[in-house]
């Protein structure tokens, strides 16, 4: 059932989640408690499609998507950092706002409800390298993928290096772990957090671009469909480490790609659509630490009667 050809769809569906979760790493590590990835991604998909539609250039579309993601995060930053709002409530409201505003603007600008798909929307450039596309397994990695896929994979290592090896990375981690101490040694906590939010917005916007201009070339209401929250789960699961995020994103990508494959079989498509979401819960439950804790608990119970 599973062949090597599943690599290509895994990469494709993993990329938005990975980009978004990498953005989340910055937010999370700097202690902003951001949960607006869903909204940033959704606005990113919308502005990306709008940019591409009106200019006919995919590059402008991507830039617009980035701008959209950044705008959402700036709005969140204003509420959270400037005005001291509650992170869960504000984040939730911002997500809800994003759904509302994209639906509203879709109707206002394009006079359609539901889905916008038009030949004027220019999709992203897809890689086709003449020689490599004939090599058995490697061809799945390099054929028909957008450049954002490689950018996402590259960003995993860039993020790891930034967090581990640069002064800025130290500042980010300090702000997240102990903002008071960071402020004492002269780190501008709020400025660092603002920068992190902007980076999050950029990466979430790119994730949106991959969804709306790479995997599909259309926008539909609420097209992100919880992937932002899956990214949030990936961030929580991996304790906001770039490599951990890559692993969890791979797992979710696999679940989704496998679900897409199963849709060709006779199993009810509704059951299959549940798979990625169920996978998130399953992975949350089956975290290695939790299992260790469980083992310890069971071990304690066994020992107790002897005492």
């Amino acid at each position: 059932m599973i062949t090597a050809s599943i690599i290509a769809p895994i990469l494709r569906v993993m990329t938005p989640i990975l980009l978004c979760a990498l953005g989340g790493v910055y937010s999370e590590r700097s202690g902003t408690g951001n949960i607006t990835y869903e909204g940033s991604m959704l606005v990113g998909t919308f502005t990306g499609v709008v940019g591409s539609y009106f200019t006919g250039s995919a590059l402008v579309g991507v830039l617009c998507a980035v701008a959209g993601g950044v705008l959402v995060n700036l709005f969140y930053g204003m509420l959270r950092i400037k005005m001291g709002g509650d992170n869960v409530v504000c984040g939730f409201a911002v997500n809800s706002f994003s759904i509302g505003v994209t639906t509203y603007l879709l109707r206002t600008i394009f006079h359609t409800n539901g889905t916008l798909s038009d030949s004027r929307i220019q999709g992203l450039y897809k890689l086709r390298i003449p020689v490599l596309k004939d090599i058995p397994i490697i061809k799945y990695f390099v054929t028909n993928q957008t450049l954002l896929v490689y950018f996402a994979l590259l960003m995993v290592f860039v993020t790891a290096i930034i967090l581990k090896r640069t002064k800025f990375g130290f500042a980010i981690r300090a702000c997240g772990e102990n903002p008071m101490a960071a402020a004492t040694v002269g780190v501008n906590v709020n400025r660092t957090r603002w920068i992190c939010l902007v980076i999050t917005g950029m990466l979430c916007g790119l994730g949106g671009a991959q969804m709306a201009l790479g995997n599909l070339t259309q926008f539909s209401e609420d097209m992100v469909g919880g992937r932002g929250f899956i990214a949030l789960a990936a961030v929580i699961l991996s304790k906001a480490t770039p490599l951990g995020v890559l692993c969890t994103a791979l797992l979710f990508g696999f679940a989704e790609a496998y679900a897409n494959l199963l849709q060709l079989t006779s199993i009810s498509s509704y059951l299959i659509l549940m798979i990625p979401y169920a996978a998130v819960i399953l992975i949350l439950v089956l975290q290695p630490e939790r299992l260790k804790e469980l083992k310890r608990r069971i071990g304690m119970r066994r020992k107790l009667p002897q005492v």
Partner: protein, 351 residues
């Protein structure tokens, strides 16, 4: 990683101010869309309060928001952010529908409570999973409940499509058979909708009494505001968290049952226009107090009914209501608005 949710006291003046800000920013969006502001607002009001049919539409939406708002409010009081009311609502709706269709021959007086009970039990079961995971496994209830929403929506669609699809004229839409007549809400004052509203009103009274008069309500409040303090004063916070989620799920399931029994008459896959989120907005806006939830549910009902009329007659997207709601909530939880809180300033001046 701090995704803990704590209920915070919000003053009515701040809520009023946020509503003003939300409406002003909403107006900006109306202007951006190139619509006539006066026309838009007059449609909003006429469509919600202007006629008898408009009023019944408002009551119809208010009922759903009220029940969902209570569901979210209970969870907020106990310090849990139940984002899964939508999923619990779907599970409640489907089980109430099935009981309503297949338990034939009962008198209405037994059938209606049975359907509601089925909805409540299903909602509670669906809510128990994230609650147990949160308490014994320490997984974020926010993420789990969110994921379970998507699972519930797909799961109910699957059930309807594979097992309970109606045979008849409905074409592509996934619906079940119609409920037995004995399972529908009785008609009060011209429409069956008002029964749900009365139900919601009674629940609100019960909600207020529960949180002001009863010991358990007090325990829930304390563990929501300060879990550590609650632990030291001998309250089992874990138990409170589970019970809060169960109650929240029950009411959400009841909301689903009421929607089916009062309005829809049959289970239609994907019938809810995100009642769960609206319920959370209601509870946040109402600061989870009984009267607050009641008033904000009516406010949201007016906004929703008005925006539907607005879309039908002026072609403005109904999502405008969502934009305004979300903007209001954005500002409700914000601290700096308290600068404008005149009463507080006067008070501190006297000291």
């Amino acid at each position: 990683m701090n995704f803990e949710f704590r209920q915070r006291k919000i003053k009515p003046s701040i809520i009023a101010l946020s509503i003003c800000i939300g409406l002003v920013l909403g107006t900006v969006f109306v202007l951006l869309g190139g619509y006539n502001v006066l026309e838009v607002y007059s449609y909003l009001i006429r469509g919600s309060l202007g006629s008898v049919s408009a009023l019944s539409s408002t009551i119809r939406w208010t009922t759903a928001f009220l029940l969902c708002g209570i569901a979210s409010g209970i969870a907020f009081k106990g310090g849990m952010f139940n984002m899964g009311t939508e999923g619990q609502l779907y599970m409640g709706a489907i089980s109430a529908t099935l009981v309503g269709i297949y338990c034939k021959g009962l008198p209405a007086i037994a059938h209606i409570p049975l359907c509601m009970l089925a909805g409540m039990v299903a909602g509670a079961i669906w809510a128990s999973i994230p609650a147990l995971l949160r308490v014994y496994w320490n997984t974020s209830e926010i993420v789990v409940t969110l994921m379970m929403n998507y699972i519930a929506i797909n799961f109910t669609s699957f059930l309807v499509k594979e097992y309970f699809l109606t045979t008849g004229v409905f074409g592509d839409s996934l619906t079940t058979d119609e409920l037995a007549a004995t399972a529908r809400f009785p008609v009060f004052g011209g429409s069956p909708i008002s029964f749900g509203f009365i139900l919601g009103t009674l629940l609100i009274i019960a909600y207020i009494l529960f949180f002001t008069k009863s010991k358990r309500g007090f325990e829930i409040k304390v563990s929501g505001v300060n879990p550590d303090f609650a632990k030291f004063s001998g309250i089992s916070v874990n138990k409170v968290r589970i019970s809060v989620m169960l109650m929240s799920g029950m009411v959400a399931g009841l909301a689903g049952a009421a929607e089916i029994m009062g309005v829809q008459g049959r289970f239609l896959s994907g019938f809810s226009p995100d009642f769960g989120t609206s319920g959370m907005l209601v509870a946040l806006l109402g600061n989870s107090s009984g009267i607050g939830i009641y008033i904000s549910a009516i406010f949201m009902g007016i906004l929703k009914a008005g925006s539907l009329t607005l879309e039908r007659s002026a072609g403005v997207s109904r999502a405008l209501a969502v934009v305004i709601q979300a903007l209001i909530i954005c500002f409700v939880s914000v601290k700096t608005l308290k600068v404008f809180d005149f009463k507080k300033k006067e008070g501190s001046g006297k000291e």
